[in-house]
């Protein structure tokens, strides 16, 4: 490996790594953020390979391309404006504008502030009626599954909508001073918090302090040995010997990850299957035994029927 090649390769890799991370942090399109982050990973992988840790570099690429594509796609499903189409025309800092280049600004589906919110609420309500209200009404109603359904659903709707409205007001107040700079949508879609300038200064300060410390006090003992080129074999031996605990522990950590992901993301609603619905309804906070909450009570024998709700649910399962 000639010296010029090394310098050029380092420059390119470092540029990709840093520019990718910067693009991730500043672009308006979430999908692009993910792609930028991936390019940053690939840049760092390039640096790994330059540092003769080729196995780690390839591992990094493999983990992150596969893992990240999946992550980005999931993310796209849960965001308001993943493509950044509505943000593209917005007021932005220089870096943000640069990394959002090439995004085609599109008319937002709703123009005007109030419309936006009203529509959003509408959607929310529709969504509730489909999905959210179902398990709630089921769990709330232990006597039968459909008798009181409508009533409960309405209650839930009402409360959800209230909560939703208050949330929006909160945002509006939060971002009130920024509003003049933009002409479409609500600030609701902005990707950044109002503390962004402070965060930028803080991060800049951290960066400057770190870099100057690195430049001024490089007190590491650099040795001139060459690593064994067959790193895969060495790492394998290490994993099976000295770092066996790390190996098994990483496996156990992955088990935790699987367990956790399944625990969190397992479905709550099976619309087609009555028995399953009954079972899933159990996934609720255990009802307080004295269901009336903190209202003072006069009736003393309230605990008689305490376990009944759960038992009936279990029989339904």
């Amino acid at each position: 490996m000639s010296e010029a090649f090394e310098i050029v390769a380092f420059g390119i890799s470092a540029f990709i790594a840093i520019a990718g991370a910067l693009g991730m942090a500043t672009t308006m399109s979430m999908f692009r953020s993910g792609i930028f982050l991936m390019s940053s990973f690939i840049g760092v992988a390039g640096l790994f390979i330059l540092l003769t840790a080729d196995l780690i570099g390839l591992l990094q690429i493999m983990m992150y391309i596969g893992g990240f594509l999946v992550m980005i796609l999931f993310m796209v499903m849960v965001m308001h404006d993943p493509g950044g189409a509505m943000m593209a025309g917005m007021d932005m800092a220089f870096v943000e504008r640069w990394f959002s280049k090439g995004l085609v600004p599109r008319e937002p589906p709703h123009s005007g502030h109030s419309d936006m919110h009203a529509d959003h609420g509408q959607e929310q309500r529709a969504h509730d009626r489909q999905s959210h209200a179902m398990p709630q009404s089921n769990a709330g109603d232990h006597r039968g599954h459909s008798v009181h359904h409508d009533e409960h659903a309405d209650d839930d709707d009402q409360s959800m909508q209230d909560m939703d409205d208050s949330g929006h007001e909160g945002h509006a107040a939060h971002h009130g001073n920024d509003k003049s700079g933009m002409d479409m949508g609500g600030m609701d879609m902005s990707m950044v918090t109002p503390v962004r300038p402070a965060a930028a200064w803080l991060a800049g300060a951290i960066g400057v302090v770190l870099v100057s410390m690195l430049l001024l006090r490089p007190t590491w003992r650099v040795v001139n040995a060459m690593p064994d080129p067959d790193s895969a074999r060495r790492i394998g031996q290490l994993l099976m010997e000295k770092y066996m605990i790390a190996f098994e522990g990483a496996g156990f950590l992955i088990l935790i990850g699987i367990f956790g992901a399944v625990l969190l993301a397992r479905p709550t609603i099976y619309p087609d299957d009555a028995s399953r619905r009954a079972r899933v309804a159990v996934d609720k906070k255990p009802e307080p035994i004295a269901a009336e909450g903190l209202v003072p009570l006069a009736v003393p024998d309230k605990q008689a029927g305490q376990h009944e709700p759960h038992q009936s649910e279990e029989h339904g399962a």
Binding site: P135, Q136, M213, R217, T219, W220, R221, V223, Q237, M240, E241, K242, Y243, M244, I245, A246, E248, G249, A250, F252, L253, L255, I256, G257, I258, F259, G260, V262, L263, L264, T268, R279, V282, D283, K284, K285, P286, E287, P288, I289, A290, A291, G293, L294, P296, L297, A298, V299, P300, K302, Q303, Q306, H307, H310, Q311, E314, A317
Partner: protein, 483 residues
């Protein structure tokens, strides 16, 4: 058959307890998914048995000569055994309370699995002497804790709590790992003892920088003050027994990890860590106690109280290198803290399960509504406040003595002042229970698990308070560390 050479580092007895629990968790993961009806109890029972076996495997290490296993990445010493026993005991008591709390619900089968996973992580952290393993086990104790907080998926406060816990935790641990890489860079090794030996000539600025970042990570788990922000929300949002678990096990694990790191890897002279830690301790206890004065949610109150308790314990860590009494003092205090905090949360769980609330009103007149749980809660709170002859009192005395011996008289004074302030908010709760007319008539939720958890803890509080020698001798055994 494997060759003999590659097995030289292997020492399965060194990880016996962890293997039992991890293997059990592995088996229980599918069972927790399949169990229906009365079978939901199975994971709890199995976890209980497994934890008892693990305690049996850990206990002999209390008297073992310190040695290293797995080529120096793992320690077998009394220090580790002691902290692992505390973690296992804490897990057992939480398990009892959780089994009653989610009786018949879907979570009854899942909670024990997550508990086992978290306890494996905590136990590993107490024994790991390698930076890589430290990072691994810190994550291993955190991930299941996130899951435990969100056991009830449809609960809005729990959702918020988990999101905060997760994001703060992930960021704090990443920052900490960044600091650890500099320790490696300065010494060329990941092993704590080699780092300790090689750091001698290192640049103090970089050591201080690395130590600061490491303190962020551990401080997050220990709820030290600038990094405590997640704790009140998480304690309030989680179910009460889980709050108890989160207030004990990750904290014990992080204290053990920090102690090991400080004593094995960081020479006293390099960083002014005793002073730094003393200041952080003073800030933490004062902040926790002052904010706790204004709380009406009991779980939130206990959260701030446990922040303050972390401050007390940090006080002794600050002098750990200076006086040999500091380590037993912390260890003793952990036993006391485990008993009193888990008892408080177990009773709170009963109240919450009954009324669906943990506000101060919910315990109004509890002394008349449910005399025994109220007595246990009062006992726990008195012990937390440091009233003789309970375990908390003896623990606080040991901590103060250690601080004075270590030369931090000012810190001991601040701590004593804090303990007096803290008396107030504990007294408010007790007064609410005994000196106010009950506005409602319910007792607390019944359940053998709650009863056992409370009884064990209360018994511990009294016995270790009246005869502190019992736990102190254990703690002295457990202060021998591989160095």
């Amino acid at each position: 058959m494997p060759e003999a050479g590659s097995m030289s580092c292997m020492d399965l007895w060194a990880v016996g307890p962890e293997m039992v629990l991890a293997g059990l968790a592995l088996v229980l993961v599918p069972i927790a998914g399949w169990a229906r009806g009365p079978w939901r109890r199975l994971p709890s029972v199995a976890a209980f048995v497994g934890l008892v076996i693990a305690m049996g495997l850990t206990a002999p290490m209390l008297t073992a000569a310190p040695r290293e296993a797995f080529c120096g990445t793992y320690a077998v010493d009394p220090f580790r055994a002691f902290y692992q026993l505390v973690i296992e005991a804490g897990t057992i008591i939480t398990l009892l309370a959780l089994a009653s709390h989610f009786r018949g619900a879907e979570q009854e089968a899942q909670a024990p699995v997550a508990l086992l996973m978290a306890s494996v992580g905590g136990m590993g952290l107490a024994a790991a002497t390698d930076l890589g393993l430290i990072v691994l086990f810190l994550q291993m104790v955190s991930f299941p804790s996130y899951l435990l907080v969100l056991l009830v998926r449809s609960d809005r406060p729990a959702q918020e709590a988990t999101l905060k816990y997760f994001l703060y935790g992930a960021a704090a641990l990443a920052v900490m790992a960044y600091g650890l890489t500099f320790l490696f860079g300065l010494t060329g090794s990941l092993n704590l003892r080699v780092i300790g030996a090689n750091l001698a000539g290192a640049d103090a600025a970089w050591v201080a920088f690395a130590f600061g970042l490491v303190l962020i990570g551990y401080g997050f788990e220990m709820t030290l003050v600038p990094f405590h922000v997640w704790a009140p929300d998480v304690f309030q949002g989680a179910t009460a027994p889980v709050s108890g678990f989160v207030s004990v096990v990750p904290k014990v694990a992080a204290f053990a990890g920090l102690l090991r790191l400080l004593l094995e890897a960081l020479p006293d002279s390099l960083v002014a860590w005793p002073v730094v830690l003393a200041i952080v301790a003073a800030v933490t206890m004062s902040f926790g106690n002052l904010v706790a004065l204004r709380q009406t949610s009991l779980k939130r109150l206990l959260a701030y109280s446990s922040i303050a308790q972390a401050g007390y314990m940090l006080m002794a860590i600050a002098v750990a290198e200076r006086t040999p009494d500091a380590l037993p003092a912390i260890s003793y205090y952990f036993v006391a803290y485990l008993c009193m905090n888990l008892a408080a949360f177990a009773v709170l769980a009963q109240v919450e399960r009954m009324l669906g609330s943990d506000e101060l009103d919910a315990v109004r007149g509890l002394g008349r509504r449910a005399p025994w749980p109220a007595a246990a809660l009062a006992l726990a709170l008195l012990s937390l406040a440091g009233i003789p002859p309970l375990a908390g009192f003896a623990g606080k005395v040991f901590l103060l003595m250690a601080a004075i011996e270590g030369g931090f008289v000012w810190l001991a004074v601040i701590a004593a002042l804090n303990m007096t302030v803290a008396l107030y908010y504990y007294a408010v709760v007790i007064a609410e229970m005994y000196f106010r007319e009950p506005e409602r008539t319910e007792a607390v939720a019944p359940g053998a698990g709650y009863a056992w958890a409370t009884c064990l803890c209360a018994a511990g509080t009294i016995v270790f308070g009246i005869a502190p020698k019992l736990a102190l001798s254990l703690a002295q055994l457990g202060s021998v560390m591989l160095r």
